[in-house]
């Protein structure tokens, strides 16, 4: 057993403490942009954590995960447009529709393997994308402004940026904890076993399809909730949220951070979005640097950031 106080855990703990203190710092420096940036990071981290549950642990490389972000967002946007702003209605509706969508997508996609799985999840996400484009009543291609954030009565006020940040942060921690429990449970071992050797799993008596489907649905649901948060954060939802390149971003975050661990995607989201921020401060053409950097990560830094931290432990 490794000691708890190893370099990797210290780095992770430092990052979590830092994230918890961001609103304090932003307030002190009167820098609302900083708070907004980190709110976005945290929400996308949550989506990446959910993707990593199926991709990193379950070996199901979904190239359509942004569909759930869009769905969660549209649930908030459409209900708000129709005059229903109660969070206790919006959020459950978003969660349930995301779960249902994941059941449908998963039920079909999980019959295929490998690159066909990547492509069929992409195809489903594209369908959802075009549904968004076709929603003329709700802005079509241009998207939909959300005038009021989800209302939670006297419980908390999401329009307060600091409150909203901590709600997002709390939900991120909850998702990370949930995924961590899951992957170490009997269920999680089945999922990881199916990634490692599905044929053997069936030979020792596991009907793996249903376990993988349930896992797929859990991931979709968490991501739908992230979509709820993102729509509340930007006060806006549009099909662009579901474009396939957004799904690509989520994959980048998970891989960049390291897929082997629960917290990897959080590191990945932080790294990617802060890098974007830093590079765009450096030059207008920052993607010229970011693109090759991603390629370099693929080629030279397997295991992602978490992998590098873990190798610190061995040093």
């Amino acid at each position: 057993m490794r000691a708890l106080a190893n370099p990797r855990n210290l780095v992770v703990a430092a990052i979590l403490i830092f994230l918890a203190l961001v609103p304090v710092y932003a307030q002190a420096r009167a820098n609302p942009y900083l708070l907004s940036l980190f709110t976005r990071i945290i929400i996308l981290a949550m989506a990446a954590v959910s993707l990593n549950l199926i991709m990193g642990f379950g070996g199901m490389v979904s190239f359509g995960h942004a569909a759930y972000i869009g769905l969660g967002g549209y649930a908030v946007g459409i209900l708000a447009q129709e005059g229903i702003t109660a969070g206790l209605v919006q959020w459950p509706v978003a969660i349930v529709t995301s779960a249902l969508l994941a059941v449908v997508i998963g039920a079909f996609s999980l019959r295929t393997r490998g690159v066909y799985f990547i492509m069929i999840t992409l195809a489903f996400a594209q369908m959802i994308y075009y549904v968004g484009v076709g929603l003329e009543r709700y802005g079509g291609d241009d998207g939909l402004s959300i005038d009021r954030r989800s209302q939670f009565g006297g419980l908390f006020n999401l329009s307060n940026r600091t409150v909203f940040y901590y709600v997002c942060f709390g939900l991120l921690l909850a998702s990370v904890y949930l995924v961590w429990r899951l992957v170490n449970s009997r269920f999680g071992l089945v999922i990881q076993g199916a990634r490692s050797n599905d044929r053997r799993m069936r030979a020792i008596g596991f009907p793996t399809y249903r376990y993988r489907l349930v896992c797929f649905v859990i991931a979709g649901t968490i991501c739908g909730l992230a979509g709820v948060l993102l729509a509340n954060h930007t006060d806006f939802i549009s099909p662009a949220t579901m474009h396939w390149t957004r799904s690509g971003d989520l994959i980048v975050m998970a891989v960049l951070g390291g897929m082997g661990t629960v917290l990897g995607p959080v590191l990945g989201a932080l790294a990617l979005l802060l890098l974007e921020e830093a590079l765009s401060g450096l030059t207008e053409y920052w993607q010229v640097i970011l693109g090759p950097l991603l390629l370099a990560v693929v080629l030279f830094a397997r295991g992602g950031i978490d992998g590098m931290l873990a190798s610190l432990n061995r040093a």
Binding site: R181, L182, N184, S185, R186, F187, G188, L189, V190, Q192, G193, S196, N197, R199, R200, M201, R202, A203, I204, G205, F206, P207, T208, Y211, V214
Partner: protein, 255 residues
């Protein structure tokens, strides 16, 4: 003869024009160690595939413990107590040896829609897994990552995973494949121990081992059963000798 545990009747499988299983008929009694031999291309792998549920037969029936399992999916057969090992080692390479065996235990310990408790701390899973590892002599290697273990150890682990589920029948697909003489010796000793406790269907190339261990032997040639009897009788069977003319004839005669 008591009611057979495994009964195969008229099992037929074609791949295009090739008949890989041609009306195979055989029965394995409880407690028996039944070996299946045959030259390359005799259809042993196809037979195993149909027994485990990875291939669907074109005709015929398979009964296990009195139940027709011909159309059951692989995982259901395993849950009924038909455990198997793979010819080409098929393990969870990124898991530890103990994790591998514990997964096999877990498969037979009710459904796995348990999302919260740490499964690696469940004694109900770990203890039987430990026992199975001890049985095959791998207990000191319990916490090794499987990818780092030797080929011989992989073969032992294959058996342990079969044993861990307390099966009624163990289907061993060439457990000695690729083993050195010393490792083979150990495997034969292990199988001898298991014999009597468990019904075993053994598909194996190593004639010496087969004739030393088996209660009954079925010989498969071009998908057909040409003999199914005790080793002594099979050894004298003219058709079998014909099929095995060449290097292995000597083994049959003297082994």
């Amino acid at each position: 003869m008591p009611e057979p545990l495994l009964e195969i009747d008229g099992l037929t499988k074609r791949f295009g024009g090739v008949v890989a299983s041609d009306g195979i008929r055989l029965a394995v009694a409880p407690g028996e160690l039944h070996a299946i031999i045959g030259p390359n291309g005799a259809g042993k792998t196809t037979l195993i595939g149909q027994l485990t549920g990875e291939l669907a037969p074109d005709a015929g029936r398979i009964r296990f413990g009195g139940t027709d399992i011909t159309r059951l999916p692989a995982h259901r057969r395993s849950l009924m107590g038909l455990a198997r090992s793979f010819q080409i080692t098929s393990l969870f390479l990124d898991f530890t040896a103990l994790d591998n065996v514990a997964l096999a235990v877990q498969a037979h310990a009710g459904h796995s829609f348990r999302f919260w408790r740490n499964a690696r701390r469940e004694r109900a899973l770990r203890e039987p897994a430990h026992k199975a590892l001890a049985r095959v002599g791998l207990v000191e290697r319990a916490h090794c990552i499987v990818a780092s273990m030797s080929h011989g150890e992989h073969r032992q682990l294959e058996i342990a995973m079969g044993l861990a589920t307390a099966p009624r029948m163990l289907l061993l697909d060439e457990p000695m494949a690729g083993m050195g003489p010393e490792e083979s010796q150990r495997m034969v000793a292990l199988l001898r121990e298991l014999k009597g406790e468990l019904t075993i269907l053994l598909v194996e190339h190593d004639m010496e081992a087969v004739f030393a261990l088996a209660d009954r032997i079925t010989v498969l040639v071009y998908g057909r059963v040409i003999a199914s009897d005790t080793p002594a009788v099979v050894r004298l069977n003219a058709e079998v000798r014909q099929a095995y003319l060449g290097e292995q004839e000597a083994v049959i005669r003297h082994g």
